[in-house]
């Protein structure tokens, strides 16, 4: 698979502005599962869930949800968007995700993020001013726990370890692939480059110029650390779409959700926002055209995730959207992205490809 396509969910419980109905937490959690199953059915490659520890978000426990989805799917890669590397204990991340990796037969990767909700840090006993150092130290430990059987370790933020073995060991001795997500921090792009890990730019809410600088930095530093050429660095991007066969139908149906969306609602017009950000509201062809420009802006890349289930959109609509994505958009994008893609640009990493690299 050259480019992986998938869905990422924030897991927000939001009132549907068109009928005033608010789903229960139970309904929302089940809806996220239904969305993941639909993603596999529609031929998509990835489902990723966010991690939150405050209302109105439900996904506080990603491995529980992903483990359940793993049992009901066979092909779909299960990922996070994001895993809070600042406030989770890296030892527990090492254990939980290695366990998930075994249960899912390797269909697991993670996206590390610092989290943007201030109070989560103190709730979990941390200091937000230490966000970047926490991300660096915790990930360094996680990286070691997955690669060394017996770990002696001492750091600034967590109790030291003597003779500790994180179990289960990663499947086939291959740790889950890791993406580092950041929307503004060069230190995180530098961290991803240092390890030769992936860099995910969740570009959906901001203009592209901002992310071009970050991704360029990541690519350049990836090469600096000897993992390959800048073009070979592993880049993931976000996208946000709403589609109907006729463009004006899509705009009419989506506008109330846009106007009341928690992130950008009551601000710019739908038209201004679509001009400035990756959001596309229109026909499948418009979505294809916009998504193809990402490659011009950021270079050939490995993973494209779409946000589809937020702002109170009903489950039925979201499932229809995933069908359109799978039937009319992704097949064309797969074909178009393959054209002119240099042979030395790596495919999206999977457990199998990484196992192959390990054995070669």
């Amino acid at each position: 698979m050259k480019v992986q396509f998938g869905i990422f969910s924030v897991g927000d419980v939001t009132t549907d502005p068109t009928d005033g109905r608010t789903p229960t937490e139970h309904e929302r959690i089940k809806a996220m599962v239904a969305i993941a199953l639909k993603a596999e059915e529609a031929g998509l490659d990835v489902f990723a869930t966010g991690e939150h520890h405050n209302p109105p978000f439900v996904p506080s426990s990603p491995t529980t949800m992903l483990g359940y989805i793993a049992a009901r799917t066979s092909r779909l890669i299960l990922s996070t968007a994001t895993t809070l590397i600042t406030t989770n204990d890296p030892v527990k991340i090492a254990e939980d995700y290695a366990m998930l990796q075994h249960l899912a037969d390797g269909r697991v990767d993670l996206m590390m993020g610092r989290g943007n909700t201030g109070p989560v840090y103190p709730w979990f006993g941390q200091d937000i001013r230490q966000g970047v150092p926490l991300a660096i130290e915790n990930y360094a430990l996680l990286h070691k726990l997955w690669r060394e059987d017996v770990v002696d370790w001492k750091g600034r933020f967590r109790t030291p370890l003597q003779g500790f073995t994180s179990t289960p060991r990663p499947l086939d001795g291959v740790p889950p692939f890791v993406w580092h997500g950041s929307i503004r921090t060069p230190e995180i792009a530098e961290q991803a480059a240092f390890y030769g890990d992936g860099f995910f730019a969740n570009n959906i809410f901001w203009p592209k110029e901002h992310f071009q600088r970050l991704i360029e930095l990541y690519r350049e530093r990836y090469a600096h650390y000897g993992h390959g050429t800048p073009e070979q660095a592993i880049v993931g991007l976000g996208g946000q779409v709403f589609m109907r066969a006729k463009s004006q139908d899509a705009v009419r149906e989506f506008r109330p959700y846009f106007d009341n969306a928690p992130v950008y609602g009551h601000g710019p017009s739908l038209e201004d926002f679509t001009a400035e950000t990756p959001l596309t509201v229109g026909s499948p062809q418009e979505v294809i055209d916009k998504t193809l420009t990402f490659r011009d802006s950021f270079g050939d890349y490995q993973r494209q995730l779409f946000l589809m289930d937020h702002a109170g959109l009903p489950l039925k609509t979201v499932l229809e959207q995933i069908d359109i994505l799978g039937e009319e958009v992704v097949p064309v994008l797969r074909k178009e992205f393959a054209i002119g893609r240099p042979a030395n640009v790596p495919d999206a990493p999977t457990h199998l490809s990484r196992l192959g690299e390990k054995n070669s």
Binding site: P133, G155, R156, E190, Q191, R221, Y264, P268, D272
Partner: protein, 210 residues
């Protein structure tokens, strides 16, 4: 050299813009005088060398509000922010509302990258209906720009309505402030270079005792 003025006047025309234009004009002239005094080859130097841009915040009011909601600046606001960031000198002028700078004026600087005014030569000025609000410059604007690490000229210029109808010193204050700003612009400290901290250094910092 680039001189950028930010004017938060709301009416068109506004006395805030009027004061802005007087300050810009005086500063351009003062930069020219400075150059003429310092350079041996006077003939080659003229005031045309100062590139001037005036940012009217009224035109950006909606964009500024949207920036609060979305977290990013739209095209027009981005252009204004880039102008201010790249300027060699800044003239910031606001009407005084409710004992302080106007909300629009503050909002523009709230959504600006807080590092973009570091070491920036800056002249602060304000307008108001009566002279009784003049110290708002010292109590509100000066601390705000000090917080942002701007280098603020010692003379701040306040123009009350009555100042436009007498010759009681406004032209002198404009001239004095402009001369100070021109001096700061001519002898400006070079901007600090942005530096990426290499990963090894970030890791090493963690192993040192805090």
């Amino acid at each position: 050299m680039k001189l950028v003025a930010v004017s938060a006047g709301l009416t068109q025309p506004s006395s805030t813009r009027l004061l802005t234009d007087r300050l810009v004009e005086a500063t351009v002239r003062a930069v020219g005088d400075e150059v003429n005094v310092e350079e041996v080859n006077v003939g080659e130097v003229n005031v045309e060398e100062v590139e001037v841009e005036v940012v009217e915040l009224r035109d950006l009011a909606t964009d500024i509000a949207n920036n609060f909601v979305t977290g990013f600046a739209g095209r027009a606001l981005r252009a204004a922010q880039e102008a201010v960031t790249s300027a060699d000198g800044l003239i910031a002028v606001t009407p005084i509302f409710t004992a302080s700078y106007s909300g629009l004026f503050k909002s523009f600087f709230d959504v600006l990258d807080p590092e973009s005014l570091e070491a920036k030569p800056t002249l602060i000025a304000a307008t108001g209906g009566t002279p009784r609000h003049s110290l708002a410059l010292e109590h509100a604007l000066r601390p705000m720009f000090a917080y942002l690490h701007a280098v603020v000229a010692p003379t701040a210029v306040y123009a009350a309505a009555e100042d436009w109808g007498n010759d009681d010193g406004l032209p002198d204050r404009v001239r004095r402030a402009a001369t100070e700003l021109a001096g700061l612009m001519r002898h400006r400290a070079p901007a600090r270079e942005e530096r990426l901290v290499p990963f090894a250094e970030q890791l090493a910092a963690l192993t040192r005792e805090p």
